[in-house]
């Protein structure tokens, strides 16, 4: 800015010719790194993810089994022996929060992975597959907007409740079914977004140019159009992670999440409410963990949006 005011001639920019051309992505990356709040969120999330993995697979960090009961220490506050205190059955809250943390991360990322695949496929098909397909897709998304999200997730989850997927075991299939129930409702936003982007890209000059030069439809879609839709899609997907974590917590909170003894953060909050007047530490830690997770993903999403869409603000 200052330089531009000083002397608007080419010589005034010694680095102008030397500087290598920066693409959209490295530009966006630079903007993201400069966003302190988003970077703090990213670092914190990385630390949390490492902690969640270590806390579920190493004894040093986990310290106690999440389901092990010790009736000598019931309803205790935080101490050196039990960092987050113990619950009404003498279970260690630290190990239980770590278990729930891993579930929340799995659900958040798993749901958005599915949403990304369905959203790109359905949105792309609607935009490129002709009018009839587009109309059908749009009526389906209209319908999804008319149906209250959380109610649909609750209904779907209860349809899946108690059933297992073939070949992956009870625990894994219950986790997957929770993820499916949420993803099945959450894909609509991304699909609409992809469709809108694709429809406007289809009319742009560079796509016309590629077509005029004889590029195959496959190449046009994957080389020219898809990369240009990714920016907003990434932002939407990252914003979707806290929503998925929230949806799982709600399911667990009303008691149709993962079957016990597996406890996700929502289950812990639900159980903790019953003891809020006796020992509020039981509910404080899982609630704070959900809050931190959702905040970090939201701040990261904010940073990504500003980085990928500098005109947006």
């Amino acid at each position: 800015m200052e330089r531009a005011e000083a002397a608007p001639t080419l010589e005034a920019f010694p680095e102008f010719e030397v500087r290598r051309e920066r693409g959209l992505w490295s530009d966006a990356f630079r903007r993201l790194i400069r966003n302190r709040l988003a970077m703090a969120a990213l670092i914190l999330l990385t630390a949390i993810a490492i902690l969640a993995v270590l806390g579920n697979y190493t004894d040093v960090v986990q310290r106690y089994r999440p389901s092990a009961q010790d009736f000598d220490v019931v309803n205790e506050g935080p101490s050196a022996a039990h960092f987050f205190g113990t619950d009404s059955l003498g279970r260690d809250n630290w190990s239980r929060v770590l278990e729930g943390l891993l579930i929340s991360l799995q659900v958040g990322l798993g749901v958005q992975a599915i949403v990304l695949v369905i959203g790109l496929t359905v949105g792309g098909a609607a935009a490129l597959g002709g009018r009839l397909l587009d109309n059908i897709m749009m009526r389906i998304t209209d319908l999804a907007y008319a149906f209250p999200d959380l109610l649909a997730i609750i209904l779907l989850r209860s349809v899946f409740f108690g059933r297992d997927l073939p070949g992956v075991g009870h625990d894994a299939s219950q986790r997957l079914l929770v993820i499916f129930a949420i993803a099945f409702v959450a894909w609509v936003t991304v699909a609409r977004l992809v469709r809108g982007q694709m429809l406007s890209l289809k009319e742009r000059d560079f796509v016309l140019a590629a077509r005029a030069m004889g590029a195959s439809p496959f190449r046009i879609v994957f080389q020219h159009m898809l990369p240009n839709t990714l920016g907003p899609v990434i932002v939407a997907v990252v914003f979707g992670i806290p929503l998925a974590i929230f949806a799982e917590a709600v399911l667990a909170f009303i008691g149709i999440g993962l079957p016990p003894p597996t406890a996700s953060l929502g289950t812990l909050v639900n159980e903790g409410y019953a003891f809020i007047e006796v020992n509020y530490w039981i509910v404080v830690f899982p609630a704070a963990t959900i809050a931190v997770l959702m905040l970090c993903f939201t701040f990261l999403g904010d940073g990504l949006r500003d980085a990928l869409d500098p005109m947006g603000r």
């Binding site: 149906f147 209904l155 349809v159 108690g162 806290p242 709600v250 149709i256 509910v283 609630a287 939201t298």
Partner: protein, 307 residues
């Protein structure tokens, strides 16, 4: 305009039909039936119950019968709550849910707009940073997390409010549920208010208003706020719908006997009649809220014309 309203109203009918159809088949796909108990009922009793509620008929006949009754304004009986009509049960719950929802809506609008306006008028100053931080943080705070901290601080520690219950007009029972439910939409409204006020503050007519020496509060309230209202109005419909359909969490925490809690209970015991009734009821509220907002939108901004 009238034609637009009529067409939009008629469009609600196919949407409701589709919602009902999906719900019907989803809830019949839930494992178990409404009369499964820990202790099994005698076969003869089961048979009679199933006959009374048409559950012995093939699924497509049940589907037809449901819509036949619905067309006559009858949502049927609750399968669990001692044969009470679903419409009565919803009406009982709706009174409480509507009180909670409307108060939370007012809180969200007043608090959110004030915060957004303060942030916009102090752009890039302390008030702005605080406002933006609250708006971003609050938008990621689900009701049952806020409620945890509010209950611990204000009920358990300070004893200002009650831990459970709802009573319209009794602040001890109203403040925490309303704040828990309304803070997320308040943060959302604050964000939109800030953005749209910043937009309006850049307009020429604001400069004109200042130039002719109007008092600052007149500039802010009459010229800025009024014009910044339009984008806020567009989200008012979805937010109202969110408050009504999302209140089941708060109703559960505070043991408030609203519609949402009845829905959760109904899913647990597979009370088909109640599930269907409440889903349709919610879908209707969403549709009507969106319609009202679209019509208001045209009334507020004469540049918008519906065809």
């Amino acid at each position: 305009m009238t034609g637009y309203i009529i067409r939009r109203t008629l469009w609600i009918i196919p949407v409701m039909w589709a919602v009902a159809t999906i719900t019907f088949f989803l809830m019949h796909a839930v494992p178990g039936g409404p009369f499964d108990r820990e202790r099994e009922l005698p076969p003869a009793v089961m048979q009679n119950l199933n006959r009374k509620y048409n559950l012995d008929k093939p699924l497509h006949e049940q589907y037809g019968l449901f819509f036949w009754d619905l067309a006559h304004g009858d949502l049927g009986l609750s399968f669990r709550s001692a044969n009470q009509p679903v419409t009565d049960l919803i009406r009982d719950g709706w009174k409480v849910t509507a009180q909670l929802g409307v108060v939370a809506f007012l809180y969200a609008v007043v608090f959110g707009m004030t915060l957004g306006a303060i942030a916009a008028l102090n752009q890039n100053k302390m008030g702005d940073y605080l406002g933006v931080f609250f708006a971003t943080a609050g938008a990621a705070m689900p009701s049952f997390i806020i409620a945890v901290f509010l209950i611990i601080i204000f009920s358990v520690k300070l004893g200002w409010f009650d831990v459970l219950g709802w009573e319209f007009g009794n602040y001890r029972k109203m403040v925490i549920p309303v704040v828990s439910l309304g803070t997320l939409p308040a943060a959302y409204i604050a964000r939109i208010t800030r953005a749209s006020m910043l937009e309006v503050l850049r307009q020429d007519y604001i400069r004109t208003a200042r130039a002719k020496g109007l008092a600052e509060y007149v500039v802010v309230l009459r010229h800025t706020m009024k014009n910044a209202l339009v984008p806020i109005l567009t989200v008012a419909g979805p937010i109202f719908a969110f408050l009504i359909t999302g209140s089941f969490i708060v109703e559960r925490i505070f043991a408030i006997p609203g519609v949402g809690r009845r829905f959760v209970d109904a899913v647990f015991v597979r009370d088909y009649g109640m599930i269907m009734g409440i889903v349709l009821f919610y879908a209707a509220i969403i549709a009507v809220a969106n319609l009202v907002v679209d019509v208001l939108y045209a009334a507020v901004d004469p540049r918008i014309r519906y065809r």
